[in-house]
Amino acid sequence: MQEAMMRRAKELLADGTVNRVLGWQKGEFAYDHTPAVFDSADQLEQFVYDDFTAANLSKYLVKETKQEGKILAFLKPCDTYSLNQLTKEHRVNRDKVYVVGIGCEGKADVEKIKALGIDGILGIKAEGDNFVVETLYGNQTVAKTDVLAERCVVCKSRKLMTYDEILGEDGEVINSNRFDMVEKLENMTADERFAFWQNELSRCIRCNACRNVCPACTCEKCVFDNVNSGIANTAAADSFEEKMFHVIRAFHVAGRCTDCGECSRVCPQGIPLHLLNRKFIKDINELYGEYQAGEDTDSKGPLTNFTYDDCEPSIVHERGVE
């Protein structure tokens, strides 16, 4: 796949369709590929793509489409949802992106691999239902189901929402069980839920990684960085701060979040932040009708819309466990 992508990128650079390529390059370790922009065939030698290439590239297009010329972006199904949403919000100029959609079978979560006691990771290869992990100490075979990222285990869609061409195979929208964990929490008592979140959120170090990676968080200036907003704060001085930050962040992306799962992927503390977003998505689906952000570029989002007979907030009392 990597070869095919590099070949195609070079062709598109050569024929002038694009003047830059947005992809990934190797990081310090074999599993921390980072997004990168390449502007020549030579540079493309650094291009990398494998089952560790997890980062959603769409957010980078906010900045990149303000530059001269068209950029080639390799986008996974998840990323195409984000691109559509960004296009809808006028954050990305779709005309300045050449999207090569790439099929996706799910990405490996290196933390899960490490947890199996595998060290010295050098690379990864998918083989049927397994991953073959290349290590300093030889190859190890692990079942995909054991090491796939959570968001891939409950993948909502392998279908590309927008593209100019496809490499590999387009998939289908999946009837996933991604809300199971949210439901499990909903069925806990309020005290249990509070204990759960207190435990999770108290680990937050306010590094802002979740915000910085989030393709829905593309504000010119974040309210939490704006001293005039009245809620600016940076350090986690008190347990309230995390709650304020994460609730407001989740609220700001409610109805816009495509559930790409990047927030949880990058959280250094392993906080399941996606559950907050998924809670909103689940509520929106249940209360206002099925809505998947990023499916299109022109629908009205659920929070910029209403119906005359929407439910009242008191519905919170009628649902779930107190």
Partner: protein
């Protein structure tokens, strides 16, 4: 740092009775930025205002807090006071320590403590106030009157006489409304047509009045001074310009079995019809549900006989868009549906009629040419029973209305009196709960019915009307004064049905963003002091759409509404509310979230060039708010994730400062 003055009002004993005003002033004196805190018996009085003005000048105040009654009461007063002393009027904040404090708390300590906190919140807010300057928006010098009954006609005539063009939109093929169906009017007994039809003609002939009959309001956009209204002209299948109203088509039309709505279905009309002889505009209308040509394609007789060539079976609904400075609602009323009142046998016997039907039965232009005849057999009735309050003043909401329909007592007295006058051989009973006759010459009128005409008024309710085999109606009722059960064999029963707002009022209110009460009557801006205005600026109320009323009252309200409209239209421009949204371009993402929630279309986007921190320039899409269109709801401020959109006078930081002050 602001220099803030705090003025605590006693409101006589209204505030000072449960709030220690001295203590409040003393406590607020030590708040940051406060340079003077004082109290006075009546801040809104001349002397109180002078006290404020002097303090503004003497202490060089940059902001003031008045702890007094609700800002809904005197905010405007104190803003004017500030302006008179050279302080920007938007540097005034009111702490509501009367309605929301002294009047609801009995304990002096509790009231005082709360008043201090409310004062603190207002001080915290005023620290963040900024001087605001109101913009201006032009006024379109044209009015729209919705509804062409006596209310709409009177309003339109008054506005037009003042020199402003007026359009009347009437959903029926003719103007005239309910009054055109009425026979005689109380308490003078002059004929309704004789006083109404000349006004209809005046309206039609007035060079400033344009009548859109058989039309409806389809869409309303804009705001006071600048409404844009889409009017739907329903297809009449007759060209109103060509039609001379000769009536030949009506005469020749072979389809003559259509229930005549003008006579409440008590006789028949043809498929092409003119509602009544004095209709304005006097233009024929084809009823597409009855017309053979429209239904089967066969016939076309009216087109053949029409010498003017006015018939056009292909006519479609058309739309007109017009701009108006003011809109008057005059949508009127209807008697309620009596299906739920089985006990009166309204649906079982044609001889049980509503008062409006009775009106037609006694009208010279009605189905019986004015001779009172029993609908079932066309015979002269001898015993008539009138029942008042049918559906009015009902307890509970299961059926009927809780309010008094106001006009029934008087028209029932009129019917009963006329009945006895014209047919002295009749026996007339009126069953009532109360007889309400507060109006000029009203009680005298009622007493004449009883004393001179011998109408038998019985206090009590009718329990049941049972149609008998011999065609008579057995009325079972109780006489509450004599305390006995009555059984009356009647030839006719007349029900004074409650009246309710026209069905078109509710959707219209939504279009106008005008508020309504639970009965779908339009609410007035103030029940006592602003009875002809809706709370929505630029929307005025005329007639029964606001509440039940008789003709003299309707006409007074119609003229009142007209006066308010004229007062608006003589202005060349209006001062805008400066408490509108504004966008910080540097923070705006251009995401359109604000635009999507704006109910007024006040937000537009433009691509602007910005210098970036790295000294490059970038084109960015940013929002801008039209302050003349924005009404200041603030929906956009919450939709905006970056906080670029904020609201003057109710900014994020101001509200949070209030929150902080309250929670401290």
């Amino acid at each position: 740092m602001q220099r803030i003055g705090v003025f605590v009002c006693w409101c006589g004993s209204n505030i000072a009775g449960t709030v220690d005003v001295h203590k409040v002033a003393e406590a607020l004196k030590s708040e940051p930025g406060v340079v003077i805190a004082t109290q006075y018996q009546y801040m809104c009085s001349e002397a109180g205002q002078t006290l404020i003005k002097d303090a503004i000048r003497d202490h060089k105040l940059t902001g003031i807090v008045v702890c007094s009654c609700s800002p809904r009461m005197h905010e405007a007063t104190f803003r004017k006071t500030a302006a008179a002393a050279g302080l920007n009027p938007y540097m005034v904040e009111i702490a509501n320590i009367r309605e929301q404090c002294s009047w609801i708390h009995k304990d002096m300590e509790v009231g005082t403590e709360k008043a201090i906190i409310l004062g603190r919140a207002a001080i915290a807010k005023v620290h963040l106030n900024a001087p605001l300057v109101a913009g201006e928006s032009p006024v379109v010098k044209r009015a729209l009157v919705i509804g062409g009954g006596i209310a709409g006609i009177q309003t339109a005539l008054d506005i037009a006489d003042a020199g402003f063009p007026v359009d009347i939109v009437e959903t029926k093929p003719t103007i005239g409304g309910k009054m055109a169906q009425i026979d005689k009017t109380f308490p003078t007994l002059d004929c309704a047509a004789c006083i109404l039809t000349p006004k209809m003609v005046d309206a039609a002939q007035h060079d400033k009045i344009n009548i859109y009959a058989y039309s409806e309001v389809a869409e309303v956009k804009g705001f006071v001074g600048n409404f844009s209204v889409k009017i739907k002209q329903k297809a009449r299948m007759v060209d109103p310009v060509k039609c001379t109203g000769c009536g030949l088509c009506v005469e020749k039309c072979p389809m003559k079995k259509v229930p005549n709505e003008f006579n409440l279905g008590m006789d028949k009309r043809s498929a092409i019809y003119i509602p009544f002889a004095q209709a304005v505009p006097k233009v024929a209308t084809i009823d597409p549900t009855a017309c053979l040509k429209m239904k089967t394609g066969k016939c076309g007789l009216c087109a053949t006989v029409c010498e003017a060539g006015a018939i056009d079976y292909t006519q479609q609904d058309s739309f007109i868009e017009e701009k108006y400075g003011a809109i008057v609602v005059a949508t009127g009323y209807n008697p309620i549906n009596l299906d739920q009142f089985d006990e009166f046998a309204y649906n079982q016997s044609p001889d049980v009629v509503t008062s409006l039907e009775f009106e037609r039965l006694t009208n010279a232009a009605g189905p019986t040419a004015g001779t009172l005849l029993r609908p079932s057999d066309g015979k002269h009735p001898h015993t008539l029973v009138f029942v008042q309050c049918v559906g009015s003043r009902c307890d509970g909401a299961e059926k009927g209305k809780s309010y008094c329909s106001k006009i029934c007592c008087m028209y029932t007295a009129k019917h009963a009196m006329l009945c006895r006058e014209k047919y002295p051989d009749t026996e007339v009973y009126v069953f009532y709960i109360d007889v309400r006759t507060p109006g000029k010459n009203f009680d005298e009128f009622y007493r004449r019915a009883v004393e001179e005409y011998g109408v038998k008024y019985i206090k009590g309710m009718v329990g049941k009307v049972a149609p008998q085999a011999d065609g008579s109606l057995l009325v079972q009722a109780s006489d509450l004064i004599e305390g006995e059960q009555l059984k009356i064999k009647a030839d006719m029963v007349v029900l004074a049905a409650a009246i309710e707002p026209d069905q078109s009022a509710r959707p219209l209110a939504t279009m106008l963003t005008a508020s309504m009460d639970t009965n779908d009557f339009f609410t007035e801006a103030h029940p006592k002091l602003r009875p002809v205005e809706s709370p929505t600026a630029g929307v005025f109320l005329s007639g029964c759409c606001q509440g039940p009323k008789d003709i003299p009252e309707t006409v007074s309200q119609a003229s009142g509404a007209a006066a308010k409209v004229i007062g608006l239209l003589v202005k060349d421009s209006l001062t805008c509310n400066p408490c509108v949204a504004h966008s910080d371009e540097l923070m705006c993402n251009g995401c359109s979230a604000c635009e999507k929630v704006c109910p007024y279309g006040a937000i537009t986007y433009q691509d602007k060039e910005f210098r970036m921190p790295d000294r490059t320039t970038a084109i960015r899409r940013v929002a801008s708010v039209n302050p003349a269109v924005c009404q200041g709801c603030g929906a956009c401020t919450v939709a905006c994730p970056s906080g670029a959109m904020d609201l003057n006078g109710f900014s994020n930081s101001q509200i949070m400062a209030e929150v902080d002050a309250i929670c401290k």
